[in-house]
Subunit: 325 residues, 2 copies
């Protein structure tokens, strides 16, 4: 069985080929090559290959689809960064900063088409099922981004709405990558669906973990928390849960924080964290992460195959989920 | 055989279904439905159906692909309008004006996926050839838009570069629509390619005609010329040809105009037109239009099929090319 790091090296090799191919006009292709060359964990394409490997001993059938998922993911980053006005991505200037908005819009559009071109290199007999998963997933990612933008101006986002948003914006692309890999490996529909559900639950757990680490990671083993989500009033699992539970003074503090009535950033972070602590949000969030990751591992274990074939995916998932102790 | 207006009504019916389907989130789907409901000539989807009809008596096989081409075309308009900062499209506010840039970026992205979803409703056995044409065409349209943007800041655009740009930005989508229709109708590769070449040449003729009418239509039967291209220093067939031919004083006038050294817009238009007249640009442009449209009709006539099956496409092309007398 091929583990994450082996799959990663296959993916990097293919991406390098894309990045090194000279194509005109430069302004269209260079930005795409730039963002693809900035690295990242390449989780999605690795998952395509690993899911294929669950059902097939050869990975060739899945490599183009794997790179397609990474190119699509990077396309969403390029356009999201314009929309979020983000200057930095992977410690480098974003495309709209390095070039301009128009270049970022158009090269993003080209990357979306590039993703389809790569996917279409798959075996013709697999094209229809692969495209069905890809189209649905891609559209859901757009829906998730739209909900995320809508939430910025809302103060009454429910936990269910939030969970649905992160499912669309983050999870379905992991889930879709796994399903696409499974299809490339010749998996029966039912087994491909189990991997999809593994990815969907893992993605939700991973996103809640991200919310958690933004507030709590300095108290733990892993790096330093920034409190950036609190500063930006981001609707996170923690904030939404706290708004749901807070009463009297705690509710007042949260409202003040969201309304921007606590001018000093450090004080704001400190006060919101104190409310979180009183409401036991730390434990509630940890429980939610555990609940979704447990569910993910259950789905993975339910795949009808020799357990050792699932080992690399299990290891990758454990690696992704090991940051909350 | 089904003529343009019959095909148009089929297309409108399908687009209405898309436009009337309620989908969440609103901010993602309403803008797409808005732009699709603003009308337009629907040339591309009509061409898909008419090209199908050349080889097949039923059009059902082509209807989803036809709408896919229209949705893709409208996606390019949405993103081009952001890039060009255009406030009006089809006499109505553009999406980024009516909503905002982020909504226009994301709903455009969704429309691109929607185009693929529609295309994927085609017969599975046709998917691979249809997607090959679609992917290539879509990427070329992006390349054309990038070249067009690059030309804004250049003063030395050659005629060949210009022709390649309009081929990519405008012609290949007409050509691709015809080829996709032909494939849906079961055409042999060679015949599908002849329709592609018909569309490619027709598109170039049509774009040069557009350049021509911006300057000369008030002297002719058709409406009033705006001179908008001259005002904006747009690199058109006429301007590039004039820059190539102009000497001494005429060359000076063109340079001054492009450098923005003729402040009064009406005087600028008048002076540039006088240079065009002296250089006989009117006739040169007319000849080019005729050359490309003749070539288009030749390609159409070369299709190996009973000539009456080609009649509706011939009529549509004549209709599109009848504005220069």
């Amino acid at each position: 069985m091929h583990n994450y790091s082996h799959c990663l090296s296959l993916v990097e090799k293919e991406i390098n080929l894309l990045v090194e191919t000279k194509k005109e006009p430069n302004e269209l292709y260079l930005p795409a090559q730039y963002i693809l060359s900035l690295g990242g964990k390449r989780i999605r394409p690795a998952m395509v290959l690993m899911a294929c490997n669950v059902f097939s001993d050869t990975l060739e059938e899945a490599i183009s689809a794997a790179v397609a998922m990474e190119v699509f993911h990077n396309f969403t980053l390029v356009h999201d960064d314009i929309m979020d006005n983000a200057p930095i991505r992977r410690n480098q200037p974003t495309i709209h900063e390095k070039w301009d908005n128009n270049v970022a819009i158009l090269s993003g559009d080209a990357m979306q088409i590039m993703a389809y071109q790569l996917l279409c290199k798959s075996k013709p007999s697999l094209l229809k099922p692969l495209l069905d998963v890809f189209n649905t997933t891609a559209m859901e990612v757009c829906e998730g981004q739209q909900y995320d933008m809508n939430f910025v101006n809302r103060t009454n986002v429910s936990l269910n709405e939030y969970l649905r948003m992160i499912e669309l914006k983050t999870s379905v692309l992991l889930a879709g990558s796994l399903k696409i890999g499974a299809i490339c490996g010749g998996a029966p529909d039912e087994e491909a669906h189990k991997l999809y559900e593994f990815g969907r639950n893992l993605g939700i757990a991973f996103q809640i973990q991200d919310d958690y680490l933004d507030v709590y990671s300095d108290q733990e083993v892993f790096g330093k928390a920034t409190g950036g989500d609190i500063t930006e009033n981001k609707k996170t699992y923690l904030l939404i849960k706290a708004l749901e539970l807070a009463k009297n003074e705690n509710a007042e503090i949260l409202k003040k924080a969201i309304r921007g009535q606590i001018a000093d950033t450090d004080i704001k972070i400190e006060m919101v964290r104190m409310v979180y602590d009183e409401l036991n949000i730390n434990k509630i969030a940890k429980d939610a992460i555990l609940q979704y990751s447990d569910k993910a591992f259950e789905c993975l274990a339910s795949v009808t195959i020799a357990p050792e074939r699932l080992q690399p995916l299990k290891e990758l998932a454990l690696k992704l989920m090991d940051r909350v102790k």
